[in-house]
Amino acid sequence: MPRVNIMLPDDILEQMDTLAREEGMNRSQLIRTAFLVFTQVRSENTEKIQRQEDIQRAMELQDQLRQTAGPWNPQEFIREKRQVP
């Protein structure tokens, strides 16, 4: 495993050490865990944004299609096609 040097402000280093103690980890373990959590959250946020953009796009497309197709009564139509007695 490569060894790296990083620069941190004193207050962050102090918070890190406190957190590492509470979690029973050393600094390296804490940084690795924090990185994995960060990538997970980032990935979830990206997926969420993509989902919202997709649904917005879907709704706009459906709204356009409704206007293009013009008025009709879907309920009578589907009942007839399903041949409900």
Partner: protein
């Protein structure tokens, strides 16, 4: 998050220009789904039924039907593939309540997933209203 099993009658409202109050509610369902307050679930059968209805309406040509299907792909709706248990339950519900198997499918889906099965069809709803997980879109509190 509340889950709803949707009948094709609900999906159809997204593609039909109509002044019915059901259409407004169906459009609101999309908005709630966007906000992740609810999860929408359909049977794959509903897509084929929807295609059939759009085609037979004479309002949608193959190009428009393709766009309608694209829009459903973008909706991130949970799509449930053929499942023998759901199909058997649908047959049983259709037989016992005198409704179409196409209408019974989403009701069976609701039973299987233990969520509300939502329809816009009042005639179907009256026939299955004794099944406590069924709901009419116009009376749905969401």
């Amino acid at each position: 998050m509340i889950r709803y099993a949707l009948d094709t009658t609900v999906l159809l409202r997204w593609f039909a220009l109509s002044n019915e109050s059901d259409t407004a509610n169906a459009l609101r369902l999309r908005q709630e789904h966007l906000s992740e307050k609810i999860e929408l679930i359909i049977l794959d059968q509903s897509l084929y039924e929807l295609i059939h209805l759009l085609k037979e309406s004479a309002k949608y040509d193959p190009e428009l039907i393709g766009q309608a299907l694209d829009s459903l792909t973008y909706m991130h709706i949970t799509l449930v593939p053929y499942n023998p248990a759901i199909a058997k339950k649908a047959a049983q519900i259709a037989w016992e309540h005198g409704i179409s198997v196409f209408a019974a499918g989403p009701i069976a889906l609701g039973a299987q997933l233990r969520c509300q099965a939502v329809t816009c069809d009042e005639v179907v709803y009256r026939k299955v209203a004794t099944l406590p997980w069924t709901a009419l879109l116009s009376r749905l509190n969401f």
